[in-house]
């Protein structure tokens, strides 16, 4: 090794790529990843069949399948996202990341994309249910595709929230519980029981505005094949807002 050679120029892309690779492979280093994928699929399918009665409904679409996805993501996105920063803090490796030639936002993007791809993997394993509907009936493929797109965006939004929770603590359990509670609140908003609860407190106009920030209210148009700008922007705002906020939290250590 000679010190005459000038150090290589840092490259944002290679740094993000290195982080992304390490993180994504990291999920599969433990059996937990496979448990996660199995649990997601077991719940996604059985909720659609046994709670949503997708089969008895006799309609060739997947809206009863996607109906439960905000619940699933609210639970599983924080489960997958809890380690993002908390684990770096616990192991002390955050100190390496912060002293290597890479900016915090590059680390954050690499981590976020890896976690999102992991959640996407879980989602894509449910594709047989779409094929089954296609085999039994004559569904609108465009509607199914937009439903999957909406679910993926919803996962990203929950992950954005989870990454904030993870940046705040070195304890993965605390990160998970906090992230779950925040996502769970967004699931509840827009459900009848919750609306009745706040109905007594606020005027109908306010309640309508509050409903708009619920996860299901924004996922629903996607499951009907309506790719609207507003819910699209809503999910991306939560995703990148969470990403940005977690970056700021880590930078301000």
């Amino acid at each position: 090794m000679s010190s005459e050679s000038s150090p290589p120029t840092p490259n944002a892309f290679s740094a993000v790529w290195a982080i992304f690779n390490r993180e994504f492979a990291g999920y599969f280093r433990t059996p937990l990843a496979y448990v996660f994928l199995a649990v997601f699929n077991a719940f996604a399918i059985s909720l659609a069949f046994f709670v949503g009665n997708i089969y008895e409904a006799g309609v060739a679409n997947l809206d009863r399948f996607f109906l439960y996805h905000p619940w699933l993501w609210a639970f599983l996105a924080p489960a997958a996202g809890a380690r993002l920063w908390a684990e770096e803090r616990r192991q002390g490796t955050i100190e390496l990341l912060l002293t290597w030639p890479i900016s915090v936002w590059q680390v954050a993007i690499g981590k976020f994309l890896a976690a999102w791809l992991f959640l996407a993997t879980a989602l894509f394993i449910t594709l047989p249910i779409a094929f089954t509907v296609g085999y039994l009936g004559d569904p609108d493929v465009g509607v199914i595709v937009s439903g999957y797109l909406g679910s993926l965006l919803c996962a990203g939004a929950c992950l954005g929230i989870a990454s904030i929770a993870s940046a705040l603590t070195r304890n993965q359990v605390i990160a998970f519980v906090t992230g779950f509670l925040a996502c769970f609140l967004l699931v509840l908003i827009g459900y009848g029981v919750f609306d009745e609860f706040i109905g007594g407190l606020f005027s109908p106009n306010i309640i309508e505005e509050v409903r708009r920030i619920g996860l299901w209210r924004n996922l629903e148009p996607f499951t009907l094949g309506l790719v609207d700008l507003r819910p699209f922007a809503y999910f991306l705002t939560l995703s990148f807002g969470g990403l940005g906020l977690s970056t700021i939290i880590i930078e301000r250590r």
């Binding site: 090794m1 000679s2 010190s3 050679s5 150090p7 290589p8 120029t9 840092p10 490259n11 290679s14 740094a15 790529w17 290195a18 982080i19 690779n21 390490r22 990291g26 280093r29 433990t30 192991q91 002390g92 490796t93 100190e95 390496l96 912060l98 002293t99 290597w100 030639p101 890479i102 900016s103 250590r253």
Partner: protein, 234 residues
């Protein structure tokens, strides 16, 4: 030009003043030993130079780049091993070093990893995961990730902490091999290491520099180094 320049660095945690205006500079070929009691501000000073913490006041310049204004450039020229040599426990030694090489965008990363494994005598544990490493290997791995890019500036926080005499000898050997081409700061509790490792001594206590002089001059302060240390850090 000094490779490390520290000008009036200050850092507080709440009401605790960890570093109260530290200044010094380190030239190429110097190995500076940081001495001081626990909580004296040694680690904080190192973290400020390495860019892990942001200074409240003052500046740290590494290879001509201001750590807070130009962090990426500064960190490109710097190798830093934090206290306790943290590493990803689930990765193997080789994977971890490859990750460090890729992240730094080093040309021919597998060759770099191979050379670093040899330099730090990590070959026999290259396929072991980090969580199965003995303390000695783990400290060497921390050292390895800090030198994989052959940086001009090397900052090592207690690199020999908890090692047995043979392992300490190894770390010193590697350090001596490369020291003439670099500016190095090493913190230690072990006063005897000064003679073997350093060319210069900086004693830090209560967040201030209490003494900054050549090793020879420092060793002339008295035959009982423990006594010298106690007086300087009181």
């Amino acid at each position: 030009m000094a490779l490390i320049e520290v000008k009036n660095l200050k850092k507080s945690y709440g009401s605790i003043h960890a570093v109260r205006g530290i200044s010094f500079s380190v030239e190429r070929g110097e190995v500076v030993g940081f001495l001081g009691p626990n909580g004296a501000g040694k680690s904080t000073t190192m973290k400020l130079i390495a860019g892990h913490l942001r200074a409240d006041h003052g500046e740290a310049i590494v290879a001509g780049f201001d750590v807070s204004a130009d962090p990426i450039e500064a960190k490109t020229h710097l190798g830093y091993s934090p206290e306790g040599a943290p590493a990803y426990s689930e990765m193997t030694v080789r994977e971890f070093l490859r990750f460090a090489a890729d992240l730094r965008n080093l040309p021919d990363p597998s060759e770099r990893v191979k050379k670093t494994l040899e330099l730090c005598r990590l070959n026999e544990v290259a396929h072991q995961t980090v969580d199965t490493l003995s303390k000695g290997y783990r400290m060497r791995l921390g050292f390895a990730q800090a030198v994989i890019h052959d940086p001009e500036v090397l900052i090592l926080d207690e690199p020999t902490d908890g090692l047995d005499p043979n392992q300490k000898f190894e770390v010193r050997r590697i350090l001596k091999e490369m020291a003439s081409r670099k500016a190095v700061i090493v913190s230690t509790h072990i006063l005897e290491e000064i003679d073997e490792l350093c060319t210069r001594v900086i004693v830090i206590a209560h967040g201030e520099v209490r003494c900054d002089e050549s090793k020879e001059k420092f060793l002339q302060r008295g035959t009982d180094l423990n006594e010298v240390f106690r007086k300087l850090t009181a």
